[in-house]
């Protein structure tokens, strides 16, 4: 039986790990390679590195972090942040990323998904999506770190990214992100019912039981969290033990 995945996300700025709460107010917390190695020891099923500055100047430093991590950590690594071209994808994969996560650039240029899938294979194309409830009762897709609304409906968008060859969707709810009241079950259910590719839940984990809940109430195959693990409030083994006790398959 396929295990559900627990994925810590490390936000990286200038070669250091940070975590922004609601994408603002950043705290510096340490060496990303060490953090990734620690998560690996704890039994994390994958690790995500997110380049939050994503500037041209800082790219080299960020890719060095990926390169060093790939030499020491032998679980899948996903790299995101500022990936806007096929060249950016190639660079990240060559540095040792197993998957690349594209967000704003995919919304602005959906052809990028098709090209990436064609050249590198669907298995390494993750589409990151930031979405928020709108007044009409639907969900709107946002770009640029969740700051800019696009005239794109979430449920149309997920169908398109699947058709274009994305291998996976990482769905972050702006409504629940940073609030710590649990994952956005309603939004995740809506997306899971529209696509057949794996969906990763992101945004909102605040307590131990939130993970088991999202696996029990939706068909997401993975759950991602950053600050919760990062500041040691919860550990990956604690989360896995709780899920296992509730009958959810874990590695």
């Amino acid at each position: 039986m396929l295990a559900k995945r627990i994925i810590p996300c490390l936000d990286v700025r200038h070669g250091k790990v940070v975590k922004g709460i609601n994408f603002e107010g950043v705290r510096d917390v340490g060496d990303p390679v060490e953090c990734a190695a620690e998560y690996n020891r704890q039994g994390a099923d994958e690790i995500v590195f997110y380049d939050i500055v994503a500037s041209y100047e800082g790219r080299g430093t960020f890719l060095d972090v990926v390169r060093e991590t790939a030499k020491r950590v032998f679980v899948p690594l996903t790299v995101g942040g500022g990936i806007a071209t096929v060249g950016d994808m190639r660079e990240a994969l060559r540095a040792g990323a197993d998957k690349i996560s594209i967000n704003s650039a995919a919304v602005k240029n959906p052809q990028l998904i098709s090209e990436g899938a064609e050249i590198f294979g669907s298995q390494c194309i993750v589409i990151g999506i930031d979405a928020k409830r709108n007044k009409e009762g639907g969900f709107t897709v946002y770009v640029n770190g969740g700051r800019v609304a696009m005239p794109v409906d979430l449920l149309d968008w997920v169908v398109e990214v699947e058709q274009r060859g994305a291998g996976e969707i990482c769905l972050n709810s702006i409504d629940t992100d940073g609030v710590r009241g649990g994952f956005d079950i309603e939004m995740l259910q809506a997306v899971c019912s529209r696509v057949r590719i794996p969906v990763i839940a992101s945004g909102g984990a605040g307590k131990l039981s939130d993970f088991a809940t999202v696996f029990q109430e939706t068909t997401v195959t993975a759950a991602l969290a950053a600050s919760l693990f990062h500041f040691g409030e919860l550990t990956v083994p604690e989360v896995k033990a709780d899920c296992r006790a509730k009958g959810i398959a874990m590695r």
Partner: protein, 201 residues
């Protein structure tokens, strides 16, 4: 010395990172003579079947891999495992290396999420030198939409994904194939690569 076949496969560097971490001597090569000299061969692979078979042909190693598989350990990983079989119907019919009888088709269940992506438990059905010293439960990392269909005698371990997905296969002699990624399967995956190196001694 293990020869890691270089024909442009995407997971080549991950495989090499894992071998380096384990201090296993290896060389990345598309030179037939170097493959002939090696003690064992790893055939990596991600992506689609026909372009990969074509790329292997273009570097002139299709025959070399087939010949070497008769006399030294060969490990195919992910798409490299699928290439060991007779054929695949991914993007139309395409011949494989024909080292293990069987064929590759899309995962048949319409009830599961495709691709089969994540950590799945191995159901071990036969002894295998690659699994030596590895304690159950064994979880490995999979990511694929096509799977092998072959005889039980060639299956060492399978994963349950609303049906039997051959995970570790062999010809019973020198040829081994892993549908999962040992280089991305944590400590247990690294132990399999270590065991593979031991087979060359």
């Amino acid at each position: 010395m293990i020869a890691v076949i270089d024909y442009g496969a995407g997971n080549l560097f991950s495989v090499c990172n894992a071998l380096s971490y384990l201090n296993i001597a290896h060389t990345v090569t598309s030179d037939a003579k170097e493959v002939d000299r090696a003690d064992a061969v790893i055939l990596p692979g991600v992506g689609a079947f026909p372009p990969a078979m074509q790329a292997l042909g273009e570097v002139g190693l299709t025959g070399t891999v087939r010949e070497n598989a008769k006399k030294k350990p060969l490990l195919g990983i992910c798409l490299g495992m699928q290439m060991l079989f007779d054929r695949s119907d991914e993007m139309g019919d395409c011949a494989g290396l024909g080292l293990i009888p069987g064929e590759v088709r899309r995962i048949p269940s319409d009830r599961v999420i495709i691709p089969h992506m994540g950590w799945n438990e191995l159901v071990i059905t036969q002894d295998c030198p690659l699994l030596q010293g590895i304690e159950s439960p064994v979880f490995t990392y999979f990511v694929h939409s096509y799977q092998a269909f072959c005889e039980d005698e060639n299956i060492v371990a399978f994963a349950d994904y609303d049906g039997k997905v051959p995970a570790l296969v062999t010809d019973g002699q020198y040829v081994f194939g892993a549908q999962f990624h040992p280089e991305k399967s944590g400590e247990q995956g690294l132990m399999m690569l270590r065991n593979f190196e031991r087979m060359t001694i």
